[in-house]
C-alpha cells in the first residue's frame, strides 16, 4: 500500500481540484505508478450508474471528481493509459466562455500540463479530434500549447480550430453582452466565476465596459478580435483551404441582443480582405485550389460562394485560367459548371488560352451528369470560333463527341453547332477534316434522338427502310392458369429440408417458403427427430436474439412460456414465429392465440391477417393433437399460389375420411386460391365431386368448377334472419380475434363461402343473387371505388421573413372514395374486407408494407380489392419514401406474372408506377408495360386514361413519362401499337392549357403513329386543334393533324 495513493484517494473522495493540484505537482517519481493504479481503479468504481431513490439513474462520479481524475491522468498516465477510457472527459482544454461560465478548470489543467509535459498530448488530441471534433481545443489554446512546446504543430487540429474560432469568439462576445445586461438590470448578482470572466472579457474588449450609448456592435467587436489575432490570420485561415473543416457551417450568434445577430465566415472573410488583413489574390487562388479537392459537397459550395462573394474581376479570372481549367477534371458536376461559368466573358479575350481547356473539354462531352454546363460550353466554343477559326477542327470533334451524350437536349445543341460547321457556305473545315467528321457522325447515327437526327440529316447515311411490319395490339380475352407438372410445388421432402426451410420461412414476406414450411410442419409431424428442439434452437436465437442470448435451454423454455408478442405491428411473421415457439416447446402450450391483431394508433392490421391467423390456429391445434396431421386446404399446390381443384378435393375427402370438419377460414382461403379455370384440372376434379359427402359443399364446388365458358346461375341464397345475421357477425368477429374458442360450423359458414366462390369466379360481374346475404360492397356488385386527385392548400406563416411573411403550398393528392366505415357482415368475405375500412392517414400502411406479397398470395383470382386498398393507403402522392417504393415494387413484380388482362385497379397502380418519383420504380413499371404488351395483359386505353387523369391533375410531372417513351419504342410492332393506343387515350385527358413537356409526348406520339396515312382519332384531333395555338406545340400538332 502506498501512502501517496491513499492520500490521493482521500483527495478524490473528499477534496477539490485546487487541493489536488499541489499534491500532483509534488508527487515523487516512485509514487507515480501507485497513484496511476489507484486513479484507474477509482475511475472504474465511480464510473458506474446507480438508481436513485426517485427512480432516475445517475452517475456516481461528481464533476469535480471527474476533473481531479483527469488531472491525475495527465500527471501519471503513460500513452497506453491515456488512450484508454479511464482518462475521463476530453473537454477540459476547451476554453469557450459558455463552457467556462459553469466552472473554469483551465488553471489546474495548465499547471499540471506544464509540470508533467506528457509526450502523448499531441497524439491524444488528434485521436480525440478524430472521434469527436468538438473536443478540440480552440485555436489560441493550441497555439499556446505549441508555444510552450507541449504540442507538436498539427495542421489538422489547427485548421479545425481556426474554422471554429468564429463561433468561439462569437460565444465569448455573446457571454459578455449577457453579463453586461445582467449587471445593468441588477436582477441577479454575478458569481465569482462570472466576475472573473467579465474582467477577462473587458480586458479583451475595453469598449464593453463603457456606458456610452454609441458602443460598438457585436459585428464590429468580433471583427476587431479576428483582426487582432495575427496567428489566426497568418497561419489558421490559410489552413481552411487545405483541410476538411466546418468553415461552411460555423456561425457566430449573438443571442443576448435582439434581434439575434449572426455572422458567418462568408460575411467575415470579404471584410478582412477589404481591410487588408487577408490577401485577396491568395484567397481567390486558394478557393480554386480547394475546389480541386474531393471535399464534402457543402464545403465545395462554400469555396465556390466565397470566390463569387469576392466578385473577381475579368483580369483576376483571366490570371487564374489554369486553375479554373483544372477544375474541369473534377468528379462533381457542380464544380465543373462553376468553372465553365467563370469562362463566360473570357472566351473572346485576347489573353485567353483555349488549348488546355479544349483538352479537358474532351473528357466532359459524354458525362451524363453534365447538361447545362455543356450547353454553356457549346456557347463558349461558338464565340471562340469567331475569334479563332483555326480551332474549327477541334471544335467540330468536340461537337461530334457530344453526340454520344445520353441527353437529347445536349445532343441537339451539339448537332446544331456541328450543322453550322458542316453546312457553312464557305467551308470552315478542310475536306479531310469534314470527311473524318462525317464518318464519325455516321457511326453515331443510331444514338441520335429525333431532333439531333433532323438537324444532321443531310450528313447521315439514310437508314435502310424498315420492313413495313405492323401489328395491332389487343388485350387478351381470357386467362388459364398453368396447372401442370412444370408448376407443381414440390412438398418438403424430409426433416432436414424442413429444418433449413425454417430460416427462410422466418424471413419477411416470403409466402412461397412459408407455405411450404407450414405444409411440411403438418405432413412430417411424425418424422421429427427426438432432438428436434435442440436443432431448432439456432433459428430461435436468430428470431429473438435480444431475449435468448446467453440463456440455457430451461431458461429459454421458461422465457417462451411467458413470451408476449406485443400488440404492435403483428403480422404473418409474428404468427409463424409463434408457431415456431410452440414447436420448440413440443406444442405443449398454444402460442398462435397469443399473437393479437388489435388496432393500435396508426397501426391497424390488415383484415385478411385475421383469416391467416385463424388458419394457423387450426394448424396448431392439429399439431398439438400429435400423430399425422391433416394438411391445410389452402396450401398452394402449384406456383405461384394456386390450389389445383383435384388437390382441394383430395384434401376435402381426406378430411371427411378422418371425420374432421374443415376450418371455415382455411376453406375460404382455399376457394380464393382455387384454379377453377384450369380446364383439364377442373375436368379431372368434377367427377370426384360425387364422393364428397357434404351436399352444400358439393353444390358449391360443382358451381365453381363448372366449365369456364358457361357460368351457371347462382342458386337462390337464403336471406339470413336479421337477428341471426347480427349474432353470426358478432360470433365471427370474436372467433377471428381469437376470443371465442369454438369455430363456426361449415353450415354456418356456407352462405358466405358461396359469396367468396362467386367473386372468385366472377370478380367484375353484377351478382344480384348475393344481395340476399347483405347490402355490402363486394357482394351484389364488385367493390370498384372511384378516385380523383385533389388539391390541398396549406399556408405557412413565416414572420421572420419580411419579404414573404406567408408561403402557400399546394399538394396534389390522390384520393380513393370510400363509403362510411362499417364492418363486413362476415370476416370470411375475402373481397369485401377492405371496402369500408375506417380511413386515416397511413392507418393500414405498415400492415401492407410488412405482408403485401403474402396478402396478395391469398387472392390470386381477384386481387382488385386489395389493390384499391393499396392505392388508397400508400400512393396518395407520387413522392414516397423507401417503404412506399418497396410496396410499389412488390405490386409491380406481381403484375409481371402471367394473369388476365389488367383491370382498372391494376392499370391505375401501373400508371402510378410509371409516374413515381424514383427512377428505379419507373423503370420497373416500364418493364411491366413491355411484358404486359407482350403477353396481352396490358389494357392501353385504361392505362392511358389513368395516366392522363393523373398528369392533368398535377399528380406528377409529364417529363417522368415522356423521357422514358423513346426507349420503349421500336421493341416490337405490337408494343408500338399498344403504346400508340395508350397515347390515344392519354392525350385527350390532358388540359387545354398544355402542361410542361407535352411537346415530348407529342414527339413520341408522332414516332409511334402508323405510316399508313390514317388520321389521328377525333378526340386527339380536338385536343391538337387547341394546342396548335401554343407556340411550342404548334409544329408537332400541325404535323399530326396533317396526317
Amino acid at each position: 500500500m502506498s501512502a501517496a495513493a491513499d492520500t490521493f484517494e482521500q483527495f478524490i473522495r473528499r477534496g477539490t481540484a485546487a487541493e489536488l493540484t499541489p499534491f500532483l505537482l509534488a508527487l515523487d517519481k516512485s509514487d507515480i505508478v501507485p497513484v496511476r493504479t489507484r486513479a484507474k481503479s477509482l475511475h472504474k468504481e465511480l464510473d458506474e450508474y446507480v438508481k436513485r431513490a426517485d427512480g432516475h439513474w445517475s452517475r456516481l462520479m461528481q464533476p469535480e471528481q471527474d476533473l481531479m481524475l483527469f488531472l491525475a491522468g495527465i500527471a501519471t498516465y503513460s500513452q497506453k493509459e491515456a488512450f484508454g477510457r479511464s482518462l475521463g472527459s476530453r473537454h477540459y482544454l476547451r476554453t469557450d466562455a459558455r463552457f467556462r461560465i459553469e466552472r473554469d478548470p483551465l488553471p489546474w489543467v495548465w499547471a499540471v500540463l506544464r509540470h508533467t509535459r506528457p509526450a502523448w498530448l499531441t497524439e491524444w488530441l488528434v485521436r480525440n479530434h478524430r472521434s469527436n471534433p468538438w473536443t478540440t481545443p480552440d485555436f489560441d489554446t493550441l497555439q499556446a500549447l505549441a508555444a510552450e512546446g507541449l504540442l507538436n504543430p498539427t495542421p489538422t487540429l489547427l485548421a479545425y480550430a481556426a474554422a471554429r474560432q468564429l463561433d468561439i469568439v462569437g460565444g465569448e462576445l455573446d457571454t459578455a453582452f449577457a453579463l453586461r445586461q445582467q449587471q445593468a438590470e441588477g436582477k441577479k448578482k454575478l458569481n465569482a466565476l462570472q466576475v472573473a470572466m467579465w474582467a477577462d472579457l473587458v480586458a479583451r474588449w475595453p469598449a464593453l465596459a463603457a456606458d456610452s450609448p454609441g458602443q460598438p456592435s457585436f459585428r464590429a467587436l468580433l471583427l476587431d478580435a479576428l483582426r487582432s489575432n495575427a496567428a489566426l490570420l497568418g497561419t489558421g485561415l490559410p489552413l481552411l483551404f487545405e483541410f476538411d473543416t466546418p468553415a461552411d457551417s460555423t456561425v457566430a450568434y449573438c443571442h443576448s441582443i435582439k434581434p439575434v445577430e449572426d455572422l458567418r465566415w462568408l460575411d467575415v472573410l470579404p471584410v478582412l480582405v477589404e481591410s487588408g488583413h487577408l490577401d485577396r489574390a491568395r484567397l481567390l487562388t486558394d478557393c480554386l485550389l480547394a475546389l480541386r479537392r474531393d471535399f464534402r459537397r457543402p464545403l465545395l459550395t462554400w469555396f465556390k460562394e466565397l470566390f463569387l462573394t469576392l466578385q473577381p474581376t475579368l483580369a483576376e479570372r483571366l490570371a487564374r485560367q489554369n486553375e479554373l481549367v483544372e477544375l474541369l477534371a473534377h468528379p462533381l458536376p457542380q464544380v465543373i459548371n462553376f468553372a465553365l461559368d467563370q469562362f463566360k466573358e473570357l472566351w473572346t479575350h485576347p489573353d485567353f488560352e483555349p488549348a488546355t481547356l479544349l483538352l479537358y473539354a474532351d473528357g466532359l462531352m459524354t458525362r451524363p451528369d453534365l447538361k447545362t454546363g455543356l450547353k454553356n460550353l457549346f456557347g463558349g466554343l461558338d464565340k471562340l470560333l469567331k475569334t479563332n477559326p483555326a480551332l474549327t477542327p477541334e471544335v467540330a470533334r468536340l461537337h461530334t463527341a457530344a453526340l454520344a451524350h445520353p441527353d437529347a437536349g445536349v445532343q441537339e445543341r451539339a448537332a446544331k453547332g456541328l450543322a453550322v460547321l458542316l453546312g457553312a457556305k464557305k467551308p470552315l473545315l478542310d475536306a479531310s477534316a469534314a470527311a473524318d467528321t462525317i464518318v464519325e457522325l455516321d457511326g453515331l447515327g443510331e444514338l441520335l434522338g429525333a431532333p439531333a437526327r433532323a438537324l444532321l440529316a443531310a450528313w447521315l447515311t439514310a437508314a435502310p427502310a424498315l420492313a413495313a411490319e405492323t401489328a395491332v395490339y389487343a388485350p387478351r380475352a381470357e386467362f388459364t392458369p398453368d396447372i401442370s407438372d412444370a408448376t407443381a410445388i414440390a412438398p418438403v421432402a424430409d426433416w432436414h429440408e424442413l429444418l433449413f426451410l425454417t430460416g427462410q420461412a422466418l424471413q419477411p414476406d416470403q409466402p412461397e417458403a412459408q407455405e411450404r414450411w407450414l405444409d411440411g410442419l403438418l405432413r412430417l409431424r411424425t418424422q421429427y427427430p427426438p432432438d428436434y428442439a435442440q436443432q431448432l434452437r439456432p433459428y430461435l436465437l436468430q428470431a429473438l436474439p435480444y431475449l435468448l442470448k446467453g440463456k440455457t435451454e430451461p431458461e429459454t423454455l421458461e422465457l417462451l412460456r411467458n413470451f408476449n408478442h406485443g400488440q404492435g405491428r403483428n403480422g404473418q411473421h409474428e404468427l409463424l414465429l409463434a408457431l415456431l415457439l410452440g414447436w420448440y416447446g413440443g406444442f405443449a402450450q398454444p402460442q398462435v392465440a397469443r399473437v393479437r391483431l388489435a388496432a393500435q394508433h396508426q397501426l391497424h392490421p390488415d383484415p385478411l391477417l385475421a383469416l391467416a391467423r385463424q388458419r394457423l390456429l387450426a394448424a396448431e391445434a392439429r399439431l398439438r393433437a400429435g400423430g399425422a396431421a391433416l394438411p391445410l386446404l389452402s396450401t398452394p399446390s402449384h406456383a405461384p399460389h394456386w390450389v389445383a381443384p383435384s388437390a382441394l378435393l383430395a384434401r376435402l375427402l381426406a378430411y371427411e375420411a378422418a371425420g374432421a370438419a374443415p376450418d371455415a377460414a382455411d376453406l375460404a382461403l382455399a376457394l380464393g386460391r382455387l384454379a377453377w379455370n384450369a380446364p383439364a384440372e377442373a375436368e379431372t376434379a368434377r367427377p370426384q365431386l360425387r364422393e364428397l359427402r357434404h351436399a352444400g359443399l358439393r353444390e358449391l364446388l360443382g358451381w365453381l368448377l363448372a366449365p369456364a365458358r358457361a357460368t351457371p346461375p347462382l342458386p337462390v341464397l337464403k336471406s339470413p334472419d336479421k337477428s341471426l345475421l347480427q349474432k353470426a357477425t358478432s360470433r365471427f368477429s370474436q372467433w377471428v380475434s381469437g376470443e371465442a374458442p369454438a369455430p363456426p360450423t361449415l353450415d354456418d359458414a356456407l352462405p358466405w363461402l358461396w359469396a367468396v366462390a362467386a367473386r372468385t369466379r366472377c370478380p367484375h360481374a353484377a351478382l344480384p343473387a348475393l344481395a340476399a346475404l347483405a347490402d355490402y360492397p363486394g357482394l351484389a356488385a364488385p367493390w370498384v371505388p372511384t378516385w380523383d386527385v385533389r388539391t390541398r392548400t396549406e399556408i405557412y406563416k413565416q414572420s421572420w421573413n419580411q419579404k414573404e411573411p406567408e408561403r402557400t403550398y399546394h399538394y396534389h393528392e390522390l384520393a380513393v372514395d370510400t363509403a362510411t366505415p362499417a364492418p363486413p357482415p362476415s370476416p370470411l368475405l375475402l373481397y369485401s374486407l377492405h371496402a369500408r375500412l375506417p380511413q386515416k392517414d397511413h392507418t393500414y400502411f405498415w400492415a401492407l408494407a410488412e405482408d403485401y406479397r403474402f396478402l396478395l398470395s391469398l387472392l390470386p383470382n381477384n386481387p382488385a380489392p386489395l389493390r384499391w386498398h393499396l392505392l388508397r393507403s400508400a400512393f396518395r402522392t407520387s413522392d414516397g419514401y423507401s417503404e412506399e417504393h418497396s410496396l410499389l415494387s412488390k405490386q409491380l413484380h406481381a403484375l409481371l406474372a402471367d394473369g388476365p388482362a389488367y383491370d382498372d385497379s391494376a392499370s391505375t397502380l401501373l400508371a402510378v408506377g410509371l409516374l413515381y418519383n424514383l427512377p428505379t420504380g419507373r423503370a420497373l413499371a416500364w418493364e411491366v408495360v413491355l411484358a404486359a404488351a407482350a403477353n396481352g395483359r396490358l389494357v392501353p386505353a385504361a392505362l392511358g386514361a389513368a395516366l392522363g387523369r393523373l398528369l392533368a391533375s398535377a399528380y406528377a410531372p409529364v417529363l417522368r413519362l415522356a423521357e422514358a417513351l423513346p426507349a420503349a419504342r421500336g421493341i416490337s410492332p405490337a408494343t408500338d401499337d399498344a403504346l400508340r393506343q395508350l397515347l390515344d387515350a392519354l392525350l385527350p385527358e390532358l388540359p387545354a392549357e398544355p402542361l410542361r413537356n407535352t411537346a415530348k409526348l407529342l414527339a413520341a406520339y408522332a414516332d409511334l403513329r402508323p405510316r399508313d396515312g390514317s388520321s389521328v382519332p377525333a378526340v386527339v384531333a380536338d385536343k391538337l386543334q387547341i394546342w396548335q395555338a401554343t407556340g411550342s406545340l404548334k409544329k408537332a400538332a400541325v404535323a399530326l393533324l396533317a396526317e
Binding site: 473528357g363 430460416g503 423503370a923
Partner: protein
C-alpha cells in the same frame, strides 16, 4: 487493420519538357527486385491520350466509394511482366475492381524488371493526365532507381499510405470470380456508348439486369434468360469517359450471378476491365468464394514450387498447366487458390490465363486473410466442438458444430450444397461462400463428405 505500409521517395509526376512529356510513376514494391532496383518499365506510350484516359478512369475508381466510408486509398498496384503493364485498383468500398492493361502494342519501351508495385496516384498528377493531348508523346517510367524504405525516423518521404488487408483479400476474390466467368454479351462501339443511357438516374438499390432489347442494351429490373445480373449498376458510371472510346465491350458474369465484369477493348493494346460485386454493400474482400478450394491444405513445398514456377512463367492457363504437368485439375485449382489467397495471382479474361503478381510469398496470409477458415480451424482445435451424427445414404453427412449458445446442424457432402442452421448461411444461402461451421465439418469429415 493496416497490414502493410509503403512509402514513396517522391511523388508521381507528369512533367513537360522540350523533348516531350514524362509520366513518372513513383513506386514502392513490397517485394522489391534483388539489388534494390525498382524500375520496372521505361519507354514511350503508343497512344498516350488513350492511356491517360484509362489511368484517369482508374483514378476515378480508386477515389470512388459507394457506401458511406471516409478514407480513400488512391494508389493502384502495377504488375509488369510478360510484355504487359497491368494497373489494378479497387474502389474505397472494395466493391469495384478495375484494371487497365497496356499490352505490347501500347508500349514502346523496355521492361527492366518483372514485378508488382504500388504507384503513387497523387492529385496533381491525375489532374495533369486530363491535359494529355491526342498527339502528344509521353514517356512512361514506372518506379525509379532508388526506393526509400520506411525505416529510420527522418527519412524524407512524400506520402505514406497503409495498404489494407482487404486489398489482398479483394484480389483473391476477384480472380476467383473472373476465372469462373463466362462471356454473356458483346457490344459494338455504338452499343457501348448507349450502355449508360438506359440506366435509371441516381443510385440503384435493387439488382438490374443487362439485356439486349433489339439492338439496344437496356438495364431492366427483372431477370430473364440471357440477361446479365448487375448489382449496383450505377457504379458503371465510372466508365462514362471510356465507353465512347472503346471499339467493343464484352460483358462477363459468373454462372451464379455473384459478380460481373465489363471488358472494354480500347484498341492498340489497351484494355480496361471493370468488375462489380453482386451488391453495392458487398466488397470483394468479404466474399468467401475461394474458401472451398482452400479447404484441403496442400503441402507447403507444393505451393512453394508452384510459386517459383509461375513466377518464372508469369502467365499460364490452368487447364493446359494441368495437362502439361499431369496434374489433377482439382489440385491445380487448389494451388491457384492458395497462391491467389496471398494475392499472387490475377486472371486475364481475354486470354483466359492467370498472371503472376510479384508480391511476398507469405503462407501465413492464407489464414490471416481468411478469418472464416481460421475460425473453422479453431473449432477443430477443441476436442468435441465438431461431432459427426451420421452419414446418409447418398454420402450426406450430418454434423453438429458448436456455435454461440447453440449447436448448429450442418449437412455436407453427397454432391449437394452444404447447409447450416447459422445466421450467415440463413442470410446468404451459400452465395457468399461457406460459413465456418460448414468449413469445420468439411475439414474434419472431408473423407465422409466426399
Amino acid at each position: 487493420m493496416a497490414d502493410f505500409a509503403y512509402a514513396y521517395a517522391h511523388p508521381s509526376t507528369l512533367t513537360h519538357s522540350a523533348t516531350g512529356n514524362v509520366l513518372e510513376l513513383a513506386a514502392y514494391a513490397e517485394d522489391a527486385p534483388a539489388g534494390g532496383a525498382a524500375c520496372f518499365f521505361r519507354g514511350g506510350l503508343a497512344n498516350a491520350w488513350l492511356a491517360a484516359r484509362g489511368l484517369t478512369t482508374l483514378a476515378k475508381v480508386v477515389a470512388s466509394r459507394f457506401v458511406p466510408q471516409s478514407a480513400a486509398l488512391r494508389d493502384p498496384i502495377v504488375t509488369a511482366g510478360a510484355g504487359l503493364l497491368r494497373f489494378e485498383a479497387f474502389s474505397s468500398c472494395n466493391g469495384v475492381y478495375a484494371r487497365l492493361d497496356l499490352g505490347p502494342e501500347a508500349l514502346d519501351g523496355e521492361f527492366l524488371a518483372s514485378g508488382t508495385t504500388n504507384v503513387d496516384f497523387n492529385e496533381p498528377m491525375v489532374n495533369a493526365l486530363a491535359r494529355v493531348a491526342r498527339t502528344e508523346p509521353v514517356v512512361l517510367r514506372v518506379g525509379q532507381q532508388e526506393v526509400v524504405l520506411e525505416r529510420a525516423a527522418g527519412t524524407v518521404t512524400e506520402r505514406k499510405v497503409t495498404l489494407p488487408e482487404r486489398w489482398i483479400k479483394g484480389l483473391t476474390a476477384v480472380q476467383g470470380y473472373l476465372a469462373q466467368m463466362e462471356e454473356k454479351l458483346t457490344l459494338s462501339r455504338v452499343q457501348a456508348a448507349q450502355l449508360l443511357q438506359g440506366l435509371p438516374a441516381g443510385a440503384t438499390r435493387t439488382d438490374l439486369f443487362l439485356v439486349l432489347r433489339g439492338p439496344r442494351p437496356s438495364f431492366v429490373p427483372v431477370g430473364s434468360a440471357g440477361a446479365v445480373r448487375v448489382g449496383g449498376a450505377h457504379r458503371l458510371r465510372l466508365l462514362d469517359g471510356l465507353l465512347p472510346l472503346c471499339e467493343s465491350l464484352r460483358v462477363y458474369a459468373t454462372p451464379d450471378g455473384q459478380a460481373s465484369a465489363f471488358v472494354l477493348a480500347l484498341g492498340g493494346g489497351h484494355e480496361f476491365v471493370l468488375a462489380l460485386s453482386a451488391e453495392v454493400n458487398r466488397g470483394f474482400s468479404g466474399e468467401g468464394n475461394q474458401l472451398d478450394t482452400l479447404l484441403e491444405e496442400l503441402p507447403t513445398e507444393w505451393i512453394a514450387g508452384a510459386n517459383q514456377l509461375f513466377r518464372g512463367n508469369e502467365t499460364f492457363n490452368p487447364a493446359l498447366f494441368a495437362l502439361e504437368h499431369d496434374l489433377d485439375p482439382g489440385t491445380v485449382d487448389r494451388l491457384c487458390a492458395s497462391l491467389s489467397a496471398m494475392g499472387l495471382l490475377g486472371f486475364d479474361l481475354r486470354s483466359n490465363h492467370y498472371f503472376y503478381r510479384r508480391l511476398p510469398f507469405k503462407l501465413e496470409r492464407i489464414l490471416k486473410l481468411n478469418p472464416r477458415l481460421k475460425n473453422a480451424r479453431a473449432l477443430l482445435a477443441a476436442a468435441d466442438d465438431v461431432q459427426l451424427v451420421g452419414v446418409g445414404a447418398g454420402g450426406r453427412s450430418e454434423v453438429r458444430v458448436r456455435g454461440t449458445d447453440a449447436w448448429h446442424t450442418v449437412l455436407v457432402g453427397g454432391g449437394e450444397l452444404a447447409r447450416c442452421t447459422c445466421q450467415w448461411f440463413t442470410g446468404h444461402q451459400g452465395q457468399r461462400g461457406p460459413c465456418k461451421h460448414i468449413l469445420a465439418a468439411q475439414l474434419r469429415f472431408g473423407a465422409e463428405a466426399e
